[in-house]
């Protein structure tokens, strides 16, 4: 049978369906650039929902990420965030959170300081922007308010007892209750399944009925992040109304709802604003030319060719296939870009996993100029139409530095601006 052949002509092709790729699409669409996003899902669904800018430096947590960035520019000048200005980074966060709100998930705007948000293990961490459904948790913790923390029979991803135990000294007024989720009284329950069920009004009403008799004078109610998948702000508001108290969500360990929310939000809302999205396929091959770039993808029933004036590579690290580890060397599999990387395998990791200096392999990645054009072996851009953004960039350690979102969206903004400058 003849395989179908499909051709797409676009201005900007973004490779990668993670935080960086989707934010690049948001920034490009806002500038009126015809954009196509290609890529199978990556690590986006694993996020807590918090948007970190810079949470840690040299093993210490940061109150002021902007001062942290100034320090970063001094001692890590090649760090992708160190090569951007504070205004540009702030712009990226402001534009990104505004877009999230427009699409349907409320977030706090970027402020002057980090905010100390709650984690499922009963600890706090610094972040810049917080989903509206999680805001009241910080307030409850700051006030050490009497708070009821709930978990659910059969839920493996969150333990209210563990949360309470770790807060015992700093927030003693926590009480915990384990309840049955309506309609899921048997076996293992997943946060994703509960969240989707709570989109049905009769179910959140029933959940509220089960919670109400257990309040016992609590001023706040905290529960794992399950308050809806596509309309979390509506479900959250309904629960606050039904319980008559501030309610907050606590992110759970993956597979968790906040990341799935973001992915499905992007997949749902961005095509409505003009994004051409191919969410199932990975780019298999690319042909770089001075006058354009062609990408080749293969679907179950068709071959797809994408002809683009510019390409942003936002394919992530090892998990999503943006980088590949061989026995001795790391590689970038799509274009074979030269990487900044440790000399030999024995240098990839330090002896201690928690070594404060981090592991060299985590700083490996694609080298670029300040326009975020990947550099070839000769130190010159590989192609004037190719740009890179996000976690595949070299000279950063986003996990230890707690700068994942900042890295993703701020470099995406820079890459889009650089690409825009060369579009016809």
């Amino acid at each position: 049978m003849k395989r179908r052949q499909r051709r797409i002509k676009t201005k900007l092709a973004v490779i990668g369906a993670g935080l960086s790729g989707f934010s690049a699409a948001i920034f490009a669409l806002k500038r009126g650039i015809k954009t196509t996003l290609l890529g199978h899902t990556g690590a986006l669904a694993y996020t807590t929902g918090y948007l970190d800018l810079l949470g840690a430096r040299r093993g210490r947590l940061l109150d002021d990420p902007w001062a942290g960035l100034a320090a970063l520019r001094e001692d890590e000048p090649e760090h992708p965030l160190a090569r951007l200005g504070n205004d540009e980074i702030k712009d990226a966060f402001a534009c990104f959170t505004a877009a999230l709100r427009d699409m349907g998930i409320g977030y706090s705007m970027p402020g002057a300081l980090n905010r100390m948000v709650l984690l499922p293990a009963g600890i706090r961490k610094p972040t810049l922007c917080v989903p509206d459904t999680m805001l009241a948790g910080m307030e409850a913790a700051d006030r050490r308010a009497k708070t009821l923390i709930l978990d659910f029979a059969g839920l493996a991803g969150f333990s209210a007892a563990e949360f309470k135990a770790n807060f015992l000294t700093t927030w003693p007024a926590i009480t915990v209750q384990k309840i049955q989720f309506p309609g899921m009284e048997h076996g293992q329950v997943f946060p994703e399944v509960m969240a989707r069920a709570l989109e049905v009004p009769s179910l959140y009403a029933e959940l509220a009925r089960r919670i109400s008799p257990r309040l016992d004078g609590a001023r706040y109610v905290g529960l794992p992040a399950i308050l809806g998948m596509h309309a979390p702000d509506e479900v959250h508001a309904a629960m606050e109304r039904l319980l008559g108290l501030p309610v907050f969500e606590i992110p759970t360990i993956p597979p968790a709802v906040p990341g799935i929310r973001l992915r499905e939000l992007f997949e749902r809302a961005l095509p409505e604003t003009g994004l051409e999205l191919e969410p199932q396929l990975k780019v298999q091959r690319a042909d770089l030319r001075p006058d354009g770039i062609t990408l080749y993808l293969h679907g179950p029933m068709e071959d797809l060719e994408v002809e683009s004036e510019a390409v942003i590579l936002a394919s992530g690290r090892f998990l999503s296939g943006g980088l590949k580890a061989g026995h001795e060397t790391l590689s970038e599999p799509l274009l074979g870009l030269p990487l900044y990387q440790p000399g030999a395998r024995k240098d990839w990791y330090r002896r201690e996993y928690l070594d404060r200096r981090g592991h060299r392999i985590n700083r490996a990645g694609v080298k670029t100029d300040t326009d975020l054009r990947p550099l070839g072996g000769d130190g010159a851009p590989v192609n004037t139409r190719l740009f890179a953004a996000g976690s595949l960039l070299a000279h950063q350690d986003w996990v230890r530095q707690r700068c994942g979102t900042g890295l993703a969206i701020a470099t995406a903004l820079r890459a889009v601006k650089s690409a825009q400058a060369i579009l016809s």
Binding site: M1, R4, Y46, F190, M229, P255, E278, Q280, L319
Partner: protein
Amino acid sequence: MMEIAPERAEPVDFLTTARDLLPEGASYEACIACGLCASGCPASGLYGMDPRRFIRMAMLGLNEELAGTPWVWTCTQCKRCAYICPMGIDVSVLVGIARGGWPRDKKPKGIMRSCEAQMRDDSTSAMGLRSADFIEIIAETVDEIREGDKRFKNLTAPIDKAGAEFVVNQNSREPAVEPEELGPLWKIFDYVGVSWSYTSKGWAAENFCMFTGDETSWKEMVKTRVEAINALGAKTWINTECGHSFYTMWKGIERFGLEADFEAGNLISFYAKWIREGRLPVNSDWNRDNLKFTVQDPCQLVRKSIGDPVADDLRFVARKLVGEGNFVDMQPCRSANYCCGGGGGFLQAGMNEQRRAYGKRKFDQIIATKAQYVLTPCHNCHSQMSDIGGYYGGKYHVVHFWTLICLSLGILGPNERKYLGPELACL
């Protein structure tokens, strides 16, 4: 259903066998056990199994345990696990292997009976409708429409017409049990002026043999149909509104290396094309009460075959038919949509309790849209969503696209309205 010990001297080694079937770059070893697959799978928890557990057990070489779990008949092989897995790991491939390894007499009888009926003669009909009877029913139904509506006094439903542009495979349900539902699609073809034909051999559009895990029978089904279509020299083959038969056909052609001289088309994209070209001038004027409609993306057609382009066409057609503001998407949808639980032979497997537990997620999705109607171009989706609607107390109706298209064009006959609610049936 009890767990069974398959009657095999050596149980299949799932990992080794699956490795040959995986697409390039995919690898079961890449599983990091994150659980997105299990979290996103409506079959999770049935028979104490879920996709993550299945993969981890395969990694550990627990082949006998996997060979015996009845969970493989509750997995609809919808490939949602592969869609949401960062590594693209496809559990349905392992499930297909496991199904094939079950002793014939232990496999769900309903699926086996359907496959056996298909193998009985060259009609390939899962409902056992022989070709001679099919031809007779078609002729009688054509006569009834011609007599009943003078606008269609020249309507035809050709069989074995050489050189027709389209060859259409027909789901057996209509000719076997509800021939009055044949008419709307024929009227659409007539209205648009399409040159089309059925085939007398291999005319049916279903393939339960794939679901039994019996590759030889699957191939046999596809081969009979491909030869019949080749013989007519048609440019394009399409199915009636249908999900799984579309997948089993193109996938079978590819998998078994069959020579097919035609393209695989799908009816929904042709509806969309004809509407865009002005040949099918549908509108939503009939929807005076602003009834709300949602659409179910059949996994076999969207995620497993064409992807989002056909999901776009589905929505384009639906919006034109019911009015822009009256269309509400289920969430998630398109390539990320949940299987309804009617696929993979689940409807025929006799496991009603498990099937309805699986379908609860679809039911919640539908209820969350507040839609009064669900449109779907797939018979299994249609039956399953009707069943769970009744079981869980939903008030929605499930309709084919052809019904609304004909309603919109004012050509829907009085006996072609059985799936409409009273407020539309009387229009």
